[in-house]
């Protein structure tokens, strides 16, 4: 008998349009002292399992059949009041966003003491001592002082430690961690995972780790269950499942994970997920619409398409009419770099490092405080009139991170993609414009029927394809991709990265690719720049950066990459290492 036993669990969400079965016939067991992973893409039902164990299914969700046992005691049919006791006492939960799982108006002490006294017979004084002790256990320095502070005084990683301390208040037997590190930077993610690991062994509790991140699963868990559309398709020791998967879905999922140690030519086309993108015909740039209006390569072309010279950007953090009282935050601090014509240049860094600000400066969304941005030899930062800017706006487009907010929900896809064509007068009339839009949609793998629909009818990956079609519609030379795949599932990410690579080679585009994800960078970029605190610490050829990082910050980032060396390499189209 394990700590947790789930048999034939089915969870339904009935609605007036029929019943949606989020979890179907799931069996799972967790032992003390083990971390059990639950991995799958969005909508697979992995969080629903966690909520079902906690008794926190939101109505109208209900457990349709099956049994949940904790140490031999059935809990799925307990009355709410009994369930509430189980919830706090034997099972507790760590949520994704540390900011919203703490009450901003209470001190950490008050939140901890309240929870401790709810579950233990303790005096106020004892509970306070216990709270300090807990903070110490989760690795918060100077716990006696920090306990009296408010959540906003803690950094993201420290806040997640407080949330973990909160989950430990009742000495639980089972902890459910639902994407505990998704909102955190890589370096902090590693610390939090280590903490969970050591707490699990020291306190001999069982942990269910719910995540979509294969790296986290590979590094942390002992056993793993892979979920697809509400079912567990494969289950077993992590090394076996990821290293030698049996099920087709697991195979395609593992194949789609960007590897930190090898560079793939293209990700394998997986047939299991979201109808495969259709193959498109190769474009002859000499004849195709996308090739028109390009300047000939022999003309006065600069080797560096983009050159940043000592770029600086300040944001006002305190406004005042007196200059002496104004306060600034320097988001970009003296960045100089060159992007060569036809290359994919990567910019990597943790949140707040200034990489997105650089993208926005180049695209003209922000005006720099200082420095120059040369586009093909012209300083575009200092252009005044919109007539002067126009030709540069046409040659430079941007793909955004969030596919759900980057498309206007009230416009048809045809109008979204046609807007740049209309604005820059790139088509001779309505008929040609329609033809071009359909051709572009076809080309990004969506098909011409997409033109008549609205954005909400598409999934995240398809929306990102629409964004790419819109960006191509100005016939750009330079494309800025700001975390284009970080909101997408791993299999869809693989498809979008393939598409970007195809388009880049075919249309001879220059790309600025921004990401926090080093393995993705390794697959995409020719050269990579590393940013920290607004400064550029290192620029190097991709292979050099991974094999021989120079700057301490780069070394740290490379060291913290999840080691995925035992993952199955079946069916991968690897590129020979660069000489």
């Amino acid at each position: 008998m394990g700590l947790l036993d789930i048999r034939n669990l089915t969870v339904d969400f009935p609605s007036r349009r029929g019943t949606f079965t989020a979890v179907r016939d799931v069996a799972l067991d967790v032992q003390r002292g083990e971390i059990h992973g639950l991995v799958g893409e969005s909508g697979a039902g992995k969080s629903t399992i966690g909520n079902a164990i906690m008794g926190l299914l939101e109505p109208p969700g209900r457990i349709a059949s099956g049994e949940i046992e904790i140490e031999g005691r059935r809990i799925e049919s307990l009355p709410p009041e009994e369930m509430r006791k189980v919830r706090g006492k034997t099972v507790s939960m760590i949520f994704q966003d540390p900011l919203s799982s703490l009450n901003p108006l209470f001190t950490v002490e008050r939140q901890l003491v309240e929870t401790i006294r709810e579950h233990n017979r303790m005096s106020e004084r004892e509970a306070k001592a216990f709270a300090v002790d807990l903070l110490d256990q989760v690795g918060i320095p100077k716990p006696a002082e920090r306990v009296a502070q408010y959540p906003h005084q803690f950094s993201g990683g420290m806040r997640q430690r407080v949330v973990i301390a909160l989950a430990l208040c009742s000495n639980p037997d089972l902890v459910i961690a639902d994407e505990p590190t998704t909102a955190l930077d890589v370096s902090i993610q590693a610390q939090i995972l280590n903490l969970i690991r050591s707490l699990c062994t020291e306190r001999n509790v069982g942990v269910i780790l719910v995540t979509h991140d294969m790296g986290v699963i590979a590094e942390t868990t002992d056993r793993v269950a892979v979920m697809y559309r509400g079912r567990i398709v494969e289950r077993g020791a992590t090394r076996k499942v990821l290293g030698d998967p049996d099920h087709e879905y697991t195979k395609s999922l593992v194949a789609a994970v960007p590897r930190p140690d090898v560079r793939l030519h293209r990700f394998p086309m997986v047939s299991y997920i979201e109808g495969p993108a259709r193959e498109f015909e190769a474009i002859d740039l000499g004849k195709h619409w996308l090739g028109q209006g390009r300047r000939d390569a022999s003309n006065d072309r600069h080797e560096n398409l983009i050159e940043l010279r000592n770029l600086e950007m300040d944001f006002e953090t305190r406004r005042s009419i007196f200059p002496s009282r104004r306060r600034h935050f320097r988001a970009v601090d003296g960045v100089s770099l060159q992007i060569r014509e036809g290359e994919i240049f990567g910019l990597v860094g943790e949140s707040g490092s200034g990489k997105s600000t650089v993208a926005r400066l180049i695209s003209g969304l922000y005006t720099p405080t200082g420095g120059e941005i040369l586009f093909d030899g012209t300083d575009i930062a200092r252009l005044g009139a919109s007539a002067e800017r126009r030709p540069f706006q046409r040659q430079m487009q941007m793909i955004f991170q969030d596919p759900y907010s980057s498309l206007n929900p009230r416009m048809r896809v045809a109008d979204i993609v046609a807007e740049p064509i209309r604005h820059h007068n790139l088509a001779s009339g309505g008929a040609e414009r329609r033809a071009v839009v359909e051709d572009l949609l076809e080309h990004v793998g969506l098909g011409r029927e997409a033109a008549r629909k609205y954005p909400h009818e598409f999934s995240g990956g398809q929306r990102q394809r629409i964004s790419i079609a819109r960006a191509l519609a100005t016939r750009p030379r330079f494309l800025i991709c700001d975390e284009p795949t970080s909101a997408l599932d791993v299999s869809i990410q693989a498809q979008i990265l393939n598409l970007l690579k195809d388009l880049q080679e075919e249309l001879r585009l220059t790309l600025l690719f921004i990401s926090h994800d080093l393995p993705v960078m390794r697959q995409m970029c020719h050269r990579i720049g590393v940013m920290q605190n607004g400064r550029l610490c290192e620029v190097a050829e991709t292979e050099d950066l991974f094999e021989r990082p120079q700057h301490p910050h780069t070394q740290e980032l490379v060291r913290l990459m999840p080691r995925l060396d035992y993952l199955s390499r079946r069916g991968l189209d690897m590129e020979p290492a660069h000489a």
Partner: protein, 314 residues
């Protein structure tokens, strides 16, 4: 809406958005009060629109009214006359017909002033929210100052000054003066709401994408931002329609609105008030009841619309 919330994010968006219309219909039919309110509103609209065709009498046609028929009580009382279902007023006009014609004017003033207020408010709100900075400060301070005066006081002021400055008779100008004064006193709410939503939408990536393409700010405001901030505006408009009708009635009751020769609901109530203590209660009670029913029905519709749309306003 809440029933589909737990379904996986991708699927949820699809289902939710696809069925917006039918969900709206479903929540409409589920609320009996709302259905009743819609029926009442529809009856008033039809009655007002078709008044010349279906009203038993024409209260403005001097050949049809006779002083002999004045002050007839409702048809079901002892002294009643079957020709006048709700009785007549002091000039022998049929109250039922007068209510139908009066609702015509009340609704017309309500609609026109709401449209005027919405146009002013949406424009200023969009500009304030999108441009920001100094422009925003100026527009919103003006709005704050206007909020410190009661709407009726402002309407009275505008009404009074127009009559003082312009040389027009009351019969000619009353309608448009009412519309302008009510419209000008109600724009603030639209401006505030639109500004708030615009501040959110402005930072969304689709607006930034349009800026990267180089689309002109005015076009971004109209084509990209405006359609995405219209949801709350619709709700305010419904609730303000009821408010505008009341304000019109109040102004007419105070004697600065529509003249008694073309009575609106408010004017009818004012006329009837003189007879309240001499026992002719029907002259003021029936128009008063009609006004209350219309305003309540429109308000209930607005409330329902707000609740039905709210979960999707992000």
């Amino acid at each position: 809406m809440s029933e589909t919330r737990q379904i996986a994010p991708d699927e949820r968006r699809g289902i939710l958005a696809r069925s917006l219309d039918s969900d709206l219909l479903h929540s409409f039919l589920a609320s009996k009060v709302t259905v009743l309110a819609a029926i009442v509103t529809a009856v008033f609209f039809l009655g007002a629109l078709l008044a010349p065709l279906i009203a038993p009498h024409d209260p403005f046609d001097l050949r049809q009214i006779s002083i002999m028929d004045s002050l007839v009580p409702p048809a079901w009382s002892d002294m009643g006359d079957p020709r006048f279902l709700l009785g007549t007023d002091d000039q022998g006009r049929d109250i039922l017909s007068a209510i139908m014609y009066g609702a015509r004017i009340s609704l017309a003033v309500g609609f026109c002033s709401v449209i005027l207020a919405a146009i002013i408010g949406i424009t200023l709100g969009l500009v304030a929210g999108y441009v920001g900075g100094f422009t925003d400060t100026v527009i919103m301070r003006i709005a704050d100052v206007q909020l410190t005066f009661p709407a009726i006081l402002i309407a009275l002021l505008i009404n009074g000054s127009v009559h003082a400055v312009m040389d027009v008779t009351r019969e000619q100008s009353a309608f448009w003066v009412l519309v302008v004064s009510i419209g000008l006193s109600f724009w603030v709410q639209y401006a505030r709401t639109v500004r708030g939503s615009t501040l959110v939408e402005r930072n969304r990536e689709y607006v930034q994408a349009a800026r990267v393409i180089g689309v002109h700010p005015i076009r971004i405001m109209i084509r990209h931002v405006l359609p995405n901030v219209m949801g709350p505006v619709l709700v305010i408009a419904t609730i303000n329609l009821a408010l505008a009708i009341i304000t019109e009635a109040t102004l007419s009751f105070l004697g600065v609105g529509i003249p008694p020769t073309q009575p609106s609901l408010g004017t009818l109530i004012r006329i009837g008030q003189d007879f309240l203590f001499s026992g002719e209660w029907w002259i003021t009670i029936f128009p008063g009841f009609a006004l209350a029913a219309l305003v309540l029905a429109v308000n209930l519709l607005g409330d329902w619309l707000r609740d039905a749309l709210n979960p999707k306003l992000r």
